[in-house]
Each structure stands twice: as C-alpha cells, then as structure tokens.
Amino acid sequence: MNSVHDMGGMHGLGPLMPEVDEPLFHAPWEARVMGLASALGAWGKWNTDVFRQAQERIPAADYLRMSYYERWFNVYETLAVDAGLIAREEIAAGRPANGQPKATPQLRPEMIVPRFLAGAPKTRPLDTMPRFAPGARVRARVINPTTHTRLPRYLRGHAGDVTAHHGAHVFPDTNALFQGENPQHVYTVRFRATDIWGPDANPRDTICADLWESYLDHG
C-alpha cells in the first residue's frame, strides 16, 4: 500500500539526530512492549507480514507523530483485539470480562533463548525453476496494491540487474492477508542511482533491493 511507511526518497522528514550513548530502551515501557510483542506473538494468531501491514495501516499523521515503540504498542493492541485474544471492552474496563476461563501463557521464560537462537527462516521448498539468473536484466513492475507489498514505490518501473538468487521465500503480499505463504524466488536486484533519481545522483552509486519474482519482468 502506498502509505507513508514507504518513505524511500521522500524529502522533508526531518533532520538526522543520532544520540550520544543512546540507551537500548528510552523508557521501561518500551522494553515491556518488546516483551509483549514476543509473548503475544507466541499465540500464533498473526505473522510478521500481518504485523507490518498493521503498521502500514496507521494513518500517516499518526505514524509520523508516534515513536517506534508507540506504533508497536498500538499495533499489538489492535492485533490482539482482532485475533479475539482480548476485547476492547476489557481494555476500557482494565479487567477481564466475566466468565472466561483463564488461559495458559504460550511463551514461558525457558523458551526464549532457544526460540530466538533458532529463529524462523523464511525460505521454503519450491519446485518451480527460478525465472531469472544472476546477470539478467529485469524491470520492477508498476503495481499499486492497496494492501501490503515489499516492492517500494521508488523502484517501481525501473530496470536493474539481478546479482543474486536467494531461493524461495514466503511471499509477504499474500501472507499479510492470511492468504498463505505462496513462496516465490527472491533476487537481489542492483539499480543505478541515476536511473532512479536522475542526473543529480552520483553516476557511480547503486541501490540493491531484494525482490520477489512476481515483482519483476524481463527488463
């Protein structure tokens, strides 16, 4: 979707402000949001792409105003409600509704380290041969889906060169809609900065992005 999250190449989004000796979390509540993210995610009611799409659906003015962990908090609250884990009435009342059996947490303390160290690879087996090989000239399709995609606007319509094939990965555009993983081949495509931005870019400079096969045509 063409929302404000897709900000590559935009102007006017403020100055860079690196902090000296930045803390890992700026307030204790930020750390608790990080903990909630994993503890709620363990219920398996959504996936990374659903989470990202929920962020992208935050209205633009709110998205830009909110801090990173404020966005996360609002998204997890919404996802938990949408998944039926909690009700808006319970949030308003600050206590569980009457008559519900108490659940058992899915994420236990001893599970954290093994689960994080194992990770969750996004590669999947796929019988279909890759359509492109390293060296191929490709062009990013012009698409404007109103739902989640990982093809940024600034690359659409532009041609580049495939530099690597990474096997087949879960396809975010359908996974975000609970419509299945539908794995596709993923390629690194290298674009010339001048092709994307015009003559003001340095002619030596390049941009690489990792793109799913259905984002690309022969260029």
């Binding site: 860079l16 690196p18 206590r95």
Partner: protein, 210 residues
C-alpha cells in the same frame, strides 16, 4: 551535525521520540496487567525477552565477526560467501538473522544498510537498532542521498568511489564488513573487536585507527 543530547530529547519536538503521550506508560502497564490476568502472557517470559536484547545480542557480536574476518582470510571468504553459517560459527544466529549477507567495504566501494519500509536490522550481530536508524529522516534519505547522510555522520567519501545502498526489502539482513584500519597489524582479535563500532557495521562510519 551536533550529536544529540539524550537528556533533552524528550523536549525536542523534531525527534523520533517527540510528543509521546503522557499516558502511554500507563496504557502499556494496563494492557500487560490485563493480559497477565487473562493468562495470555507470563511477565517472567517478557523479562527474559528483554534480557535477551540487553545481554545476548548487540554490536559486540558483530565486532567479533569483523575482527575474525580481519584476522583469518579463510573465515573472511566463508563470511562473504555464506554469512549465516560463518556467523553461526561464532555462536550468533536466530531471529532477524536467519538469512545474513555480509558486504565488504574496499578502497573503491562503500556500503550502507537501510530498511526504507520499516526498520529491518540484523539482531544477532547488532542487537536492536538505534533510534536514528528507525527514524523517518534516515529511512527516507539513505537511498536518495547516501553521501549526504554519511557526511552528516562525519565521513566525507571521495566522489570517485561507488556508494552501494542495501535496502532490506525482504528477509535478508545485512552487515557491513568495514575496512581494517592501518596500524593494526600487531593487534589480536579481541583488540581488533574493540575498534569496531556499530555505525561502521551499518556503513555510516569507518573504523578509526587506534
């Protein structure tokens, strides 16, 4: 650009962390209490998640990878051809580092990592990203003005080298292998790792000579 003073940033309304509603901490606490009361989350598990990010992952891990690559040419070759396995040799693996790629800075090439669509970042080797990496300013500018961004971090790159920006649009996660500074031939791996900064592994800095 003057470095930002963390002690005043809450009052800076141009900042990523500006304008936080005063009741946000209370809302987070209220939601956690509700979820605990419903038996949906275990607060001790949340503590363990926080501990993981505070103690098990961070740029020190990435610095050890870089130092090993500088010290051992065969390791460096493995790192550049199969980064996920080479990084796992040092014990770093897992979430947000399942598909790693390491890109090498040279005299002719400078690499810069960004995620324009969200804030994807290689957790096992760098931990959680700094606020500037997640900011709208960095995400918007890194692809269109990488040299300007890098210059604001204090590094002026020559016009005649290639700047290559890696936009983390899929689940591949990137780490920059910086150039080894001159005058470090006598240093051991641990001493080399002490020189390597987070920003050098994102590409907004070089590693300074000791």
């Amino acid at each position: 650009m003057a470095p930002h003073d963390p002690h005043t940033h809450a009052h800076d309304h141009d900042h990523e962390h500006s304008d936080v509603p005063s009741d946000l901490a209370l809302r987070v606490k209220a939601l956690e209490s509700l979820l605990v009361e419903k038996g949906l989350v275990d607060p001790a598990a949340m503590d363990e998640v926080i501990d993981y990010f505070e103690r098990r992952v961070g740029p020190r891990n990435g610095a050890r990878v870089v130092a090993r690559a500088w010290s051992d040419p065969t390791y460096k070759a493995r790192l550049l051809s199969d980064a996920t396995s080479a990084i796992a040799e040092l014990g770093y693996s897992g979430r947000q580092g399942e598909h790693m790629v390491v890109v090498e800075n040279t005299a002719a090439m400078h690499n810069l990592i960004v995620c324009t669509l969200c804030s994807c970042y290689p957790w096992p080797v760098l931990g959680l990203p700094p606020a500037w990496y997640k900011s709208a300013a960095y995400r918007s500018r890194a692809v269109i003005d990488p040299r300007g961004v890098i210059a604001e971090f204090g590094l002026a790159l020559p016009e005649n080298i290639e700047v290559r920006v890696w936009d983390s649009t899929a689940e591949l996660r990137y780490l920059v292998l910086p150039e080894r500074p001159a005058g470090t031939a006598s240093l051991n791996e641990e001493q080399l790792a002490d020189l390597v900064t987070r920003d050098a592994m994102i590409g907004t800095a070089r590693v300074a000579a000791p």
